[in-house]
């Protein structure tokens, strides 16, 4: 019996063939932790009497959840993070201004390669699946991984999604992705890895692949990854000389389920409050007043997303009752956006640029919304409190729909501006 790509990756790490359902303790090739948890893991390790990491060379820390300290307590925490990084001898430290959002820039820098296995203190490490890397969120148990090198996981089953068809005007991968996780449903996604394949994959670039790998975990998936193809190989080889092995799921591998999914959606999709799976066509919520808008996050902070936003905002003005924040996810994306004149278009429109990183999506520590306000944004989640207050309403949509809504001052179908 053949293996899925996920089983192959974990078999390589374990040094023996593993199959879905087994409980294993695989040592990851890399473990990532973001700025908000470093002080906590240091405290946890101290309480466990551990002052040496299992392998500091496999640890990557990024300052992305609150890149710009906004008060003295934040500045002090950042100072502690720098001290802790030195204390444990962690060399892969990307402070503010050095990388950006930790679920994206390691791919740009060639630190993530196909076939790698990564554990992370953050749910959206699944983004690395864009390059055929298996990234699994661990959160609370990361101190165990740092101290002992591993933690238990069950080898997950795989849900295969063959992408077919093509996007219609005004539609983006975000629209498809958030509709798709609802259509496939929690019973399929829970505890499983989503593997994307199919004839339409060749038309999807870095940003779209990340979005596809980002959304499923909101419906219970353990991870998501894209079949390694010519695009993946070219992208990675342009960024690193470190060799990697190109593997795919075997034709006779056992999948939990297999879907064909057509990209040819007929209407932009919006996730209405209070959960990412409360997805409706934009016409159902059109006209809802908007006060706060945001384009960015690990789901949609790529250069492709910036270009889509600019296609609406260029030559237009953000509505007087709306504040629009735009966060290129990484330093590299911000530079590219500047080179292409996108930032000029955003600033001319009256948008506010924020430092590369997670932007307001990280709990609203940066640019939150106020009680009673509505936000439409490209963030990852829309549960109450995601953008600060629990007394606001958060809608999730594509960069096109968010930009169009920011211009109109109410939730709007972006096709009217195309």
């Amino acid at each position: 019996m053949g293996q899925t790509l996920t089983e192959k990756i974990l078999s390589r790490v374990m040094g023996r063939a593993v199959k879905a359902g087994e409980t294993v303790y695989p040592v990851p090739d890399l473990m990532t932790v973001h700025d908000w948890y470093v002080v906590n893991f240091d405290k946890a390790l101290q309480e466990l009497g551990v002052d040496t990491l299992y392998d500091a060379s496999r640890v990557l820390i990024s300052t992305d959840h609150e890149p710009v300290a906004t008060n003295p307590a934040s500045a002090e925490r950042q100072k502690r993070v720098r001290e802790i990084v030195r204390k444990y001898g962690i060399t892969q430290f990307f402070d503010v201004g050095r990388g950006g959002l930790g679920h994206i820039f390691p791919m740009e820098k060639g630190l993530i390669r196909p076939g790698m296995f990564v554990l992370a203190y953050d749910t959206h490490v699944t983004n690395y699946g864009a390059l055929g890397c298996l990234g699994i969120p661990m959160v609370f148990e990361i101190p165990e991984v740092l101290a002992c090198g591993s933690v238990w996981i069950r080898v997950p089953e795989t849900v295969r999604v063959n992408l077919t068809g093509s996007l219609k005007p005004g539609m983006t991968i975000r629209d498809v992705s958030q509709k798709m996780i609802v259509d496939i449903g929690e019973d399929n996604l829970d505890y499983s890895v989503v593997e994307y394949s199919g004839p339409s994959l060749k038309d999807i670039g870095f940003g779209g692949r990340m979005t596809l790998c980002n959304n499923p975990l909101e419906m219970g998936a353990k991870s998501a990854l894209v079949e390694i193809d010519r695009w993946t190989i070219d992208y990675v080889k342009a960024r690193t000389n470190v060799p990697f092995v190109v593997e795919k799921s075997d034709a006779d591998a056992t999948f939990k389920s297999i879907f064909d999914y057509d990209l040819g959606l007929m209407e932009p999709q919006v996730a209405a409050p209070p959960r990412p799976d409360n997805v409706v066509g934009v016409s159902k919520v059109a006209g809802t007043p908007v006060h706060h808008a945001f384009i960015g996050s690990c789901a949609n902070g790529s250069i492709e997303d910036m270009r889509e936003a600019a296609s609406i905002l260029r030559g237009r003005k953000v509505h007087g009752g709306v504040r629009l924040f735009i966060t290129p996810a990484t330093q590299e994306i911000a530079v590219q956006a500047g080179t292409e004149g996108l930032i000029t278009a955003f600033m001319d429109a009256g948008a506010v640029m924020t430092a590369p990183g997670c932007g307001p999506c990280a709990g609203g520590r940066i640019a939150p919304m106020a009680p009673g306000e509505n936000s439409i944004n490209t963030g990852t989640r829309n549960d109450p409190g995601r953008l600060g207050t629990t007394k606001g309403s958060v809608y999730l949509a594509s960069p096109l729909t968010v930009a169009a809504s920011a211009v109109a001052g109410e939730i709007t179908d972006p096709r009217k501006y195309l």
Binding site: D51, T123, F140, E141, A221, D383, G385
Partner: protein, 184 residues
């Protein structure tokens, strides 16, 4: 640890949010893990008086996607602080792990369990064997219990105690260095 809990049923619906329903959202961003603090806010998003009403070994029964949301542990630690168990129709992966990490006994994938009881019923649940008894109705259901290796982690008392044991074993094997300043 005794995996048989007998107590009152507290029944809830689908999609209870781990942050907004099971506890106070602020505890997640504050990374609050002290049980004595969390105890007063268990289920506060639904019923602020719940901590005063719930008793030792009472059982929370819930529908699909119990404790959904960003996988913060605070809501599950809250259940531990009152020594409650839970039975649900489904639970997302992050909260599944965090229930084990918090040392809370539970049964999941118990389809239709919300039809088997009402709030106030007397329940007896054997979490190790998967037996769910409604003593008020005189009914009994058999569900799939957690695998033994995960029950062991709950029996030890959750993640902190389990990882402390693992670290001690790895030290004996020479796989983790003794902490500097530690007495040999």
């Amino acid at each position: 640890m005794d995996f048989v809990y007998q107590g009152k049923c507290w029944k809830f619906g689908d999609n209870l949010a781990v942050d907004a329903d099971l506890t106070k959202k602020e505890f997640a961003t504050q990374r609050e893990t002290r049980l004595e603090i969390l105890r007063d806010f268990v289920m506060c998003g639904i019923d602020p008086d719940f901590p005063k009403k719930a008793k030792l070994h009472d059982i929370v029964v819930a529908g699909r996607r119990f404790a959904q949301g960003n996988p913060h542990i605070q809501g599950l630690l809250g259940l531990k602080s009152l020594d409650l168990g839970f039975v649900c129709e489904s639970i997302p992966r992050g909260s599944f792990r965090n229930a084990i990490n918090a040392g809370v006994p539970f049964l999941t994938h118990c389809w239709g369990v919300t039809k088997e009881c009402e709030t106030g019923d007397d329940l007896r649940v054997d979490f190790a064997k998967g037996v769910f008894e409604n003593l008020t109705r005189g009914t009994r259901k058999q569900y799939e219990p957690l695998p033994s290796e995960l029950l062991e982690k709950i029996a030890i008392g959750g993640w902190e105690k389990a990882v402390a044991q693992r670290i001690a074993q790895m030290r004996v094997q020479g796989l983790i260095k003794p902490a500097s300043g530690a007495v040999a």
